[in-house]
Symmetry: C2
């Protein structure tokens, strides 16, 4: 039996994050509105602590652990934003965190995570779940899954909650989907405070497992890590906690091509002056490429984060 | 006799720009404060219309032209942010603008300026003042100088005014200096509303004409265009309207090395997720490199703009 968070769990998470997570700014652009024919509100989680929305869920999850579990410590496997989000949240709460990272993950990401005081354990990429399980058996750590966890979901939803509360009624809310933590949290936030707001997920066409899962009601697992510029969305399947929420609260899941991701990324960097990840561009892409029906709507977009290799993005622009 | 604007001219400019220029956001960073020991408020003019503070002065200047001068049109020479700022302001006010650009200026900058409806006239780089003079003689255009103009100065000062009004009392305010439009406007803004706030200018060591001019009281002219990453600060001399203001209201002018500029630029892009120009990094650099005496001060920094070639900046990070 899966424990699905209620919409009000997002409100409770927001109370826990008060004064801890950044109330990130909401950006608007005359040019973007003119080009899309919509009125767009960008929730800038690239300005969140550790540079991504992931800090929200991590702190929400850790702050609800029992004292016994806090004392024992936590573990996760991630080479991305969840690693840094969990490391900082653990540091703030005085909890020992161990992060299992693939041994070929960039040294700079390992260093950034270690910089927040976490212990890094490296292992072959395919062994990371086994290594996690081993650490749990040996030390009694609590696993904090990157997305398949009700507190991670509720915490992630606080970004959309802030947007809905600050920007007023929205017709539509878009978020990228990888494992489903951000999108399911976003959908719960809308259900809590603006149930008429339609919530759309967006994923790269090459990683359309979430779209298939949402359509069929069964978790579809990709057999290989998908190839997409949006490195944050290379997850192969959505979580067991996430799919029921997506099915109940999400209006549709769209896909975008790699070219469309680059178009949106270029707009965000060159016109809006935002350092954002390709995953963030995924959520904006359907608006720039005319995939959203209707005009003059008030549309919220969650820009998920800004942790990128500037040289890599620069090389994209040189092409 | 030079007509020097009074500090209150900045307040008048702010009233003209109300609802026209963006009230740009002010960003803060726990990491930046921890690293510098100061409490820093970054005024993000990279989020201004056309991507730079220059729109403020251009609109303030054009909106005060007589109907006769508006009907005749305006001209300037610039291959940078002033060109775009003037072009947009002219478009909004229904004024014909002609921008003289060096024939070797990037096609993308010419296109961006033409995109705001301005007429582009290209010529050899050294001929641009003569070409301007010729157009003025022939068509009766009004020259809107990029910085040596009291209305441009007062308009530029509105960025600092917004910062001082929103962030509360500041001990210190830093702005980059090229020709002196932004720094003299910033100093007037402080004089108008917080005369106890010290105002510092910062320029690249290779382009230290403003420092020399400020120290000697005479406009020092560099004989060649200085070599610096901060392309917005490659002006060879400050303006006749600017120097008296700098002498009266600015506390000091500091210089920073190219390495220090890159350090600050890296921090702004990778930690603060802001697409800003190297000129903006110049103003932050003295804080990151310990050149500012004292600790725990409330410090404002004007980030002047964000119009950069992303590929060029990316290549810097690849090094």
């Amino acid at each position: 039996m899966i424990d699905i968070p209620r919409p009000t769990a997002v409100l409770e998470a927001a109370a826990r994050l008060q004064g801890i997570a950044n109330h990130t700014p909401i950006h608007t652009s005359r040019t973007l509105n003119a080009q899309t024919g919509q009125q767009i509100y960008l929730k800038c989680e690239n300005f969140q602590r550790v540079g991504a929305f992931k800090f929200r869920g991590a702190y929400n999850a850790l702050s609800q652990l029992s004292e016994v579990h806090k004392a024992a410590g936590v573990v996760t496997h991630s080479s991305g934003n969840h690693a840094q989000g969990l490391a900082l949240a653990a540091q703030l709460l005085g909890i020992r965190a161990t992060i299992v990272m693939p041994e070929d993950s960039p040294a700079i990401k390992q260093a950034a995570t270690a910089g927040y005081g976490a212990t890094i354990v490296t292992c072959p990429a395919l062994a990371r779940e086994a290594v996690c399980a081993d650490l749990i058996a040996k030390h009694g750590y609590t696993l904090i899954h990157p997305y398949d966890n009700p507190h991670i979901i509720a915490g992630a939803g606080t970004a959309a909650l802030e947007l809905l509360q600050a920007a007023g009624p929205l017709d539509l809310l878009l978020a990228p989907i990888g494992g489903g933590g951000l999108l399911s949290g976003t959908a719960l936030a809308a259900a809590a405070v603006q149930p008429n707001c339609r919530v759309l997920g967006v994923e790269p066409a090459s990683a359309n497992d979430a779209q298939q899962s949402w359509q069929t009601g069964e978790i579809v697992r990709l057999t290989a890590v998908p190839t997409t510029l949006a490195d944050g969305l290379r997850t192969r399947y959505v979580g067991e906690h996430n799919l029921p929420i997506l099915r109940q609260y999400v209006t549709d899941i769209l896909t975008v091509t790699e070219d469309e991701i680059v178009t949106a990324l270029t707009f965000l960097w060159t016109r809006l002056k935002l350092v954002v990840e390709p995953s963030s561009a995924v959520a904006l892409a359907p608006l720039l490429t005319g995939k959203i029906a209707g005009q003059g709507q008030r549309v919220g977009v969650i820009l998920s984060g800004g942790n990128v290799d500037i040289a890599e993005i620069g090389a994209l622009f040189a092409a």
